[in-house]
């Protein structure tokens, strides 16, 4: 008979189920997939992210002088799938949990992240390259006797040659 009283008391103690948002910030899990963001220092310009991008949100366009490339992510085309983050070999592109994306129409094309990322010159042949991120180089060359500091400033072909030469030197000094 007093079942309803029980429910009543329980409901009063529980408080409202409604979130206070927009008066208070909404609860957002840390791993919520919101806006993507790029760390331009780590990006090597491989283009995997734009290749796997389901929303076609990423543009990578070299500038005319070929001294670097323009990297643009347009939030208004990003479907928050996270493929870019998953496939990026250097983990330069990551997702934040920022979901405050509503905007007026005037800002439609401002809802983007843009970076100009300059090329470096390969220490060996002078070809335009991006620095191989050290944390990646340490993993790739974990069992190789190369000098990581030097190898990250080389283009892929020069890297191959450098690795082979270093291996050769070692083999000569240590025939067994």
């Amino acid at each position: 008979m007093f079942k309803f009283l029980k429910v009543l008391v329980k409901n009063i103690l529980q408080g409202p189920a409604t979130e206070a948002f927009p008066l208070q910030p909404a609860k957002t899990p840390d791993r919520f997939r919101g806006r993507v963001t790029l760390n331009p220092d780590l990006c090597v310009g491989c283009g995997i992210c734009s290749h796997v991008c389901s929303g076609d949100a990423i543009r990578i366009i070299p500038n005319e002088e070929k001294t670097g490339y323009h990297y643009t992510v347009w939030y208004n085309s990003c479907c928050l799938c996270g493929s870019c983050t998953y496939y990026c070999p250097t983990k330069a592109i990551t997702m934040t949990n920022n979901w405050h994306n509503s905007h007026k129409q005037d800002d439609k094309f401002k809802m983007a992240e843009h970076h100009f990322i300059p090329y470096l010159k390969c220490d060996g042949c002078g070809a335009p390259i991006r620095l191989l991120p050290p944390h990646l180089a340490t993993r790739i060359y974990a069992h190789s006797p190369v000098d990581i500091e030097k190898i990250i400033r080389l283009c892929p072909s020069c890297r191959q040659i450098a690795t082979a030469e270093r291996q050769g030197e070692l083999n000569e000094s240590n025939p067994e």
């Binding site: 929303g55 208004n76 479907c79 405050h100 994306n101 509503s102």
Partner: protein, 156 residues
């Protein structure tokens, strides 16, 4: 009466148009309204069943060839001053359907959009932020219309 008018102008009615969406965004719109955790009606908004009662129109989907004419027709039924909100990346840019053979969008090629809420789908709170933005625009438009002396705007 002006007291009543003041209250009335603060409560926009929402109307939903599905322009060929995958239903993801529609579910989020329904969530925004019907799940007590979000409860958009706290903001004075209410979903209505007829475009003629609507003030803020929420459009989802990339505007497919098949639905285009109907969407434009229904949109024209909504009385001015209306505010158009594009919900999801589909109506804003075409999203994952961009470049499809049956996609006529982005929707701003055909309709004047006022607020964009990107996401695939956007979370309910993001939609609520968008609705608040739209409400702001809507109140401004009503004020403007009142200043010009228009009380009842004709349905086009």
């Amino acid at each position: 009466m002006s007291f009543l008018n003041n209250i009335a102008t603060k409560s926009p009615w929402l109307f939903r148009i599905n322009a060929g969406s995958c239903n993801g965004c529609d579910v989020e719109l329904a969530t925004t309204a019907f799940i007590p955790r979000f409860d958009v009606e706290r903001l004075g908004c209410k979903y209505c069943g007829s475009p003629r009662h609507a003030d803020i129109v929420l459009i989802t989907g990339p505007l497919t060839l098949k639905i285009k004419d109907q969407v434009l027709k229904v949109w024209n039924e909504i009385p001015e001053p209306k505010v158009t909100v594009a919900v999801g990346i589909c109506p804003i840019s075409g999203g994952v359907f961009k470049g499809g053979h049956s996609i006529e969008g982005p929707i701003d090629r055909y309709l004047p959009v006022d607020v964009n809420v990107p996401g695939c789908p956007p979370r309910p709170q993001a939609i609520m932020e968008g609705i608040l933005l739209a409400k702001e625009i809507w109140l401004k438009r009503i004020e403007e219309a009142e200043r010009k002396g228009v009380r009842h705007v004709q349905i086009s």
